[in-house]
Structure formats: C-alpha cells, structure tokens
Symmetry: C2
Subunit: 494 residues, 2 copies
C-alpha cells in the first residue's frame, strides 16, 4: 500500500487536498495522470452502461437538492453512524469500528482491551490480553478473546473499556448517532427554513426525476437511469487512503422493473453484469468476490443486497453494491411530494410503482482497486521494474512515441508527426530524452500500454515498432496496422 501511495504522489496521480496547508482529512486531489485515469473509468462505465445499451439513459442532477428529498428518502432521520468520543484525547471513533473484549482468566474478568478494526485485530487483542495478565502477575489460563464492537457493549461497560488512544478506561462516551450529511444554508438567511444538505448519494436525484425522464423520452420498463457525480459524507473516521473519503464520486444506476417475482432474475443479471464489467476493465478475478448481505442485516425495505468485493491491501472490502430496493424510494417520494410516481404500462394497460435494482459503485474505490490489481514489480533483463498493468481503456496515457535517437532530424520529425496524429484522438506522450530503456521504464511505471519507437527502418519503409508493456515484446507494424491495433485494444474499433 505504501508503495502505491508513494507512486501516486511521485507521478502525479493523487495528492492530499490542501497539502500546503497541512491537508484536510478525507479529501484528495487528483493530479495530471489521476484525472485522466478517473475520466477513463467514468467514460468506460458511461460507455458500457449508457451509450452502448438501448435500455439505459443518463442524468446529471444537482448536488444540492430540496431538503424534503432527504426527508422522504430517510436520510435526515436515518443516515447516521454510531460515534464514540474519547474525552481525554479528543479522538473520535466510529463505534462499530472500535472493538473490545473482556480479558478473562479462570472465569475472572481482569479488565478489558480495545482496538480499532483491522485485519489482524484478533491476534493483536490476544497479545494485549496477555500483556495485561502478565502486568497483573496473574497465573492461570487466559480464555480465548471474543472481540465485539462498541455498539454491542452494555452501558455499564462504557466506563470499563479503555480508550484506544490512551489505553485507559473511563474516558469513552456512550455511542451516539451522528448524521453523515454535510449541512449548509441556501440564501442569505441562516435558519431552519434555509437548511440544505450536500447529497450523500446520487441515487435520489434519479428517483425524483423518474417522471421527468419517462415523460421526456421513449423509455419503457424495464429501463435504467444512470448518473455519475460527486457525493459527500461527513465520515467520522475517513481512512484507507481514497477508499473511504468525505468527498467521493459515484456511478449509480437505477433499473426500473415491473412488480412481481421478476426482481430476482434482474438482481442476478446485474450482479453478473457488474462482476464481468470489473473483470473487463482489468481487475484480477482472483481479487474479486461476492458478499451476500444476510436477510437480518438488510434495511426493512430491501429485498436483497449483494456486494462485489475486492481484496485491497487493508482487507476484503465492498467495491460495488447491487441492491434490490423494491418500490421504497419512489413510494417515499410519492408520499412526500404528493406527486404520482406511477408508471403506465401500455402493454398490459396497468399502472404501478416500479421496483428497482441498483448497482452502485465508487469511482475512487474502483481507481484504488485498479491500481492495486495492476501494480507489479518484476525483472527485465536483470533489472528491477515497477509496472502498472492497467487495461488500455483505463491507462492514463494510451501510447508513448519515442524517436530512437534525438539528433537525427528526419527521425524526430517523423516521430513528432505520428505523435500529433495520435494526440488528435488519445492522450499520448512524446519522449525523446535519455536512453530508450529508461524511457520505457518511465512509461511502464504509469501503465502506458503501448510504446512506439521510430527508428532508422521507419525512415526506409515507414514501419514502426510497437512494444507491449506487459511482455516487453516488440513487433514491427505499418502505421495503419499500428492504429488498428491501438483502436482494437481500446475497444474503439467499429
């Protein structure tokens, strides 16, 4: 993970936001290569979800909406995380990420240990228990540690569980709900009537426009509305780099279907589709997985939810959620606004509120997963190499043009002409400085899939060498063959 963070900073993928002012926790800026890669992720999603499909249309709704939107959606009432404060250190934790256990020897409770959620927390907690036992010079057998989240501690334990910051008990507050929506005021007056929120998800902008889309286009159920955009959550503990940040970007699609049992098939369909999509943009299948949410953990309106997971360096985590949300959202907005959300099905001559399947994925989580999946260190001709094996559609730079030497004017001119031509359609690089091997390495490190060298043979017969980033193998091609190869790899061939 540290290697990826360092590469991202060094090569201009990701910077800490407001870095010169010490940064702002949970916010990130994307540099010259990062912005290209982000755009590629979004464009690939849009292309595959909207442009290339006949049954999905796009939308772009405002970040700030009428506060009643969030009242109807349930976010004002229920979009909160349990929070716990350490009164001494002033540290703040998510109560469901703070774990604790009793340290028990031969049936006696010696005390409690606590720590933050982590892949290796079981082992660490056992060690902490052992330390406590030795400190108290207690003989006997330590019972196996049973970690539970702070949200499941009974109130009499709040004073006994130590703070992870100080290691001492008595400073943690009881857990309390903290709404994750950022609040602001619209207009010059600051009072109840002008409160507004930054959207915590893009989905509600789709639901509120359901009728507008039906009335202004020719969509017929089953159909989807897709949206890409920033969302904001005032996370208590932003962490894991860009994985859980306070400002992030989502790619969400609401797929509207008719009532009845058909939702199960559509849910399955979208789980499969989205899993295949993640593979198609280059995520290693071995790092992907599924997690089915157990029935008892679902929200009351939810019919089912399956996550597509990715094995990040900090653990297996949700990459995308595919939820069967029933008719909850549209019904809530119908009740809240008094406007009908019914759809008239002119095949069956019936009216109903459609059911919804929602595949929702984060741009930033996908970005990080792609970097983790693509990062490799190998050896080329006995030299160590860092390479990002990014899919060509995702790579920030599509191709680099290298004149073999820089002191041969015809060769340089030929290379520049080709570069200018490629630049018309793609983000490409031109590099004439340094040994050719070094130039390859610079491009390997940022995932550029194609290296094109203009050499002396090019001047004779117009052919060029195309170097594959992953195998480092080179082939000699004519210019039309080369352009066709790039188009095909970028899935832009007609």
């Amino acid at each position: 993970m540290e290697k990826i963070v360092s590469l991202c900073k060094r090569r201009g993928f990701i910077f800490q936001a407001s870095e010169i002012y010490g940064g702002l926790n949970g916010f990130f800026d994307y540099g010259p290569l990062g912005v290209e890669m982000r755009k590629n992720i979004k464009d690939a999603w849009w292309q595959d979800m909207v442009q290339r499909r006949d049954d999905i249309v796009g939308l772009d709704s405002a970040i700030i909406q009428h506060p009643k939107v969030w009242e109807s959606s349930g976010h004002i009432q229920g979009f909160s995380d349990p929070m716990v404060d350490c009164r001494e250190s002033k540290m703040r934790y998510r109560a469901d990420q703070l774990f604790w256990a009793a340290v028990v020897v031969d049936g006696d409770i010696l005390g409690y240990v606590s720590l933050l959620e982590d892949e290796g927390m079981e082992a660490k907690a056992a060690e902490m228990a052992d330390t406590l036992k030795r400190k108290l010079q207690r003989q006997g057998t330590l019972q196996p540690i049973q970690l539970r989240p702070y949200t499941e501690a009974s109130p009499d334990l709040y004073d006994k569980i130590p703070s992870p910051a100080t290691g001492k008990p008595g400073t943690l507050t009881p857990p309390r709900d903290f709404n994750l929506m950022f609040q602001t005021y619209v207009g010059a007056v600051r009072d109840e009537s002008s409160v507004a929120y930054l959207r915590p998800e893009t989905a509600q902008g789709i639901f509120t426009n359901f009728k507008n889309v039906v009335d202004s286009t020719r969509v017929k159920i089953p159909f989807g509305i897709a949206q890409i955009g920033r969302s904001f959550r005032n996370e208590i503990t932003p962490r894991n780099y860009i994985f859980r940040s306070r400002e992030f970007e989502q790619m969400e699609m609401e797929f509207f279907i008719e009532p009845g049992d058909g939702w199960k098939q559509w849910h399955e369909y979208w789980i499969r589709e989205r899993f295949e999509w993640h593979k198609s943009i280059g995520l290693k299948e071995s790092m992907l997985g599924y997690q089915v949410h157990p029935k008892e953990k679902l929200a009351h309106y939810s019919q089912a939810c399956t996550d597509i997971t990715f094995h990040y360096p900090f653990g297996v985590q949700e990459l995308e959620g595919i939820a069967a949300r029933g008719c909850f959202d549209l019904t809530q907005h119908q009740n809240g606004s008094g406007k009908s959300m019914e759809y008239f099905d002119d095949t069956h001559k019936t009216k109903y509120i459609p059911r919804v399947i929602e595949p929702a994925v984060g741009v930033d989580r996908t970005f990080l997963a792609l970097l983790c999946s693509a990062y490799e260190e190998d050896e080329i001709d006995g030299e160590p190499r860092v390479v990002l094996k990014l899919h060509p559609r995702i790579a920030p730079i599509k191709a680099a043009v290298f004149p073999l030497v820089k002191n041969k004017p015809e060769l340089v001119e030929k290379a520049k002409t080709l570069f200018k031509k490629l630049q018309r359609r793609w983000n490409v690089a031109y590099d004439a400085s340094g040994a050719i091997g070094r130039r390859y390495r610079r491009m390997d490190e940022v995932g550029t899939p194609f290296g094109i060298t203009v050499d002396f043979e090019t001047l004779e017969n117009g052919t060029l060498t195309l170097r594959d980033r992953d195998t480092t193998k080179q082939v000699r091609l004519s210019e039309p063959e080369l352009l066709a190869a790039i188009e095909k790899n970028l899935q832009q061939d007609l």
Copy 2:
C-alpha cells in the same frame, strides 16, 4: 427564451432541481439529452485544451478544501455581493442590480422610481416617472431619467427609494455585504475550527497544487493546468435560467508564464484562442463579442481582464473571462502556507513566482449559449420545423438510424446491425416508428446532425442515405464512406 426553456423540459435537456418538491431556486438537473450535451462540451474543451496540446496538463481537485485556502485567496474577506432587503415583502435583491432614479420636473424632485436591471429598464423607468408625474398632476417638463445602482445611493435616500416589490419607499435596508460562499462543517463538531466552504471557483485548487504538478510531471514554463468541476455560489438572486445558478460547472485553466512584459502577448493569445474555440464549437460569430474591463474596475492585483461575451435573449453577458492575474494567487498561497511557490527556470538559472493568464468559462453558460445560437425555426416543404443547429461535436445524439419501413425484416435487421455498430463509438438513436418525415423532425428538434436511412437500395448494393439536418439534403454513400463522414465531422478522424 421561453421556447428554449420549454424545449429543454419537453425533450429532456434540463429540469428544475427537486421539481416534485416545488424546486429549489438556482439549482438545475440535466436530463438524458442534457447530460450528453454537457459531457460533449466538457470533452471538447478537455480535448482541445489538454489532450491535443503539449503545454497543458489536467487536474481534479476536491470541492471542499482547507479553509485557509480561501483565507489566502481573499474569498473569505472579499468574495461578496452587496445585498438589500425589502422589509415588507421580504424580497432580497443584489444592490448593484437594483436601479433607481429621481423623478425631476423643472428642477423639483417629485419622488423616486426603482426597478431591477433589465435590457429595457431605461424605457420602463421613463414610463414610471411619467406615471408618477401624472398621478401628482404636476405640470412642466420631466427631466431625462438617470438610472444608477442602489450601491451608489447616498444614505439619506435609502428611505426615499421605493421597493421594487411594493412600489413604496421606506422599506429598503441599506446595502450590506453578503459572502457568496456556501459554508459547512467538516467533522462532528460544529464550531469555528471545523468551518469549511464549498469552492466558489476551481482555480484555487490549481494554485495550491502548482508545486505538486511541477514536481510530478515534466512541465516547463510556459505551461498550463486545466480543471473542470462544480463550483457553488450562494447567489442573492439566481436568474436567467441556467445562466446564473447557485451550483454550476466551470472549465478553468491557469497558464503560468515568466515575469515581465510577456504577459500582454499571452493575454492576447488566449483571448484569440478562446474566441476561436467558441466559434469552433458552433457559436455564431455575430452573437459573440469582447468586453475589455476598464483599468479602474479591475481588482488591485489584476493586470487586465477581457470578457468574451454572448448575446443571450436577456442581453449581452459574459460567457468567458480571460484574466491576467499577475503573481497574486501564488504569492498569497506562499505567504499563507509558508511553502515556496517559486519555480526554478533551468534555462535561465533563475527562480521566480510565475505570472498567470486565466481563461475561465462556465459549462452551463456555454450550454445555454449553444442552445440560443442553434435554435431556429424554418419551413421544410411548407411545414414549420424547429431545429437545433448544433455542431456535431456538441449534439447529444450524433446520428439516428431509420429503417425506411418497419415491416420488412431484412431491412430492419440491416438497420439494427448498423445502429449497433455506430453505438459502439457514439451516442446514436434508432427509430422505426411513424412516417419518416416525423422521425426526421424529432431528431431535428434535438440537433441530431446525421439521419441515416436504410432503404430498399441498401438491400441491393449496401449504400445508405445520409441526411444533413441543416439543409435536409440527402446523399447516398457506402458504409465506409458514411463512417468516414461522421468521423470527420466529429473531428475524430486520424
């Protein structure tokens, strides 16, 4: 204007945000066609400003930055508009948009009139003055009306100038400054230490990352950093549809140059470049113009500023501003952060804080200008037609495929195959229902430049007819010729 607003709603370009809850003043949602057109505007800017140039790189910074960014940039202190309230009607106005004049007859002041800034306000005010004179049954000659903004009223007049809402004097407050930044709080505590703002411009995210970009890329002065993103301004009176909204999207580029007189040439260069760009995406030259900001109206640090204007239905307004900002912003951030913003020029072996030329344009303003420029009503074969003559790069749907009849399976299959092929690369439509003339009209109204008809001759020799939206002329082409024609018009040919 009403025609454009109505077309936008009817065909799914633009909806009022939170419409089902009565809307939220100053916020808009973009529907299925609007989101495509917005994306086309942004992609065209990015392609021409970043991808196709060797001297500009991109960036994507967070909307929420450390509050010190806005302290250094001067926004906390100075980013405000003068506001005036009507105590009776509770209406709120921008004081510089509220105009007033004394009504004078033969040297006597009869009273005052007031109204909101408007193209025809001079005539209206003269009429109001005349009405007042007649109401007071006063004889004599009315002096010509001299309108001035409320900000230039002396304090003794605040009680005498009538409110535009009620027509009565005595209810307007003195003007006072109102900061336009939306405020929020980051973290669970709401106090001074957690205040943050939604960015009012994307530019500062570029300045704060100046060193990060220099250190992580190979840029050399002169070079630019470009960014597209949402910005937020808590406008006192959002108006003119999407022209002045509270949430909007900007396309800004900061072009860094060396100190000295060279800035004048670069300023001229960017004014020309940007003017040509607006023409290149289809804005009529006759509707474009320039407005040079007079020296005395420039901010103290500003060297010069020229607007590219557009003649909107509500008047000639700023479309893009090209500002020569000197070294103000980088110097402010150097002072505020204590981090050096100096650039080491290794050609001249000198260090300096670069100067900046900033072309900044709004996506939404460009969107509206394009619609206004493209909207036409004409007659085709004696029938009235509404057509959006959008440039092919901007048009939300690039081409529509029509099978001439829908009851001939081979013809339909041929049309669908072509549609699927085009869909791989572009946003295209397929329409088989209704008379061919009606299908053309539907596409003309949303600006689709190419209509492709698959007819009986297609089955014989593979040729297709390509209909030009503007001339309605048709030519017969082979499929490769057709693809080449579309590519060329979209400026995607290699």
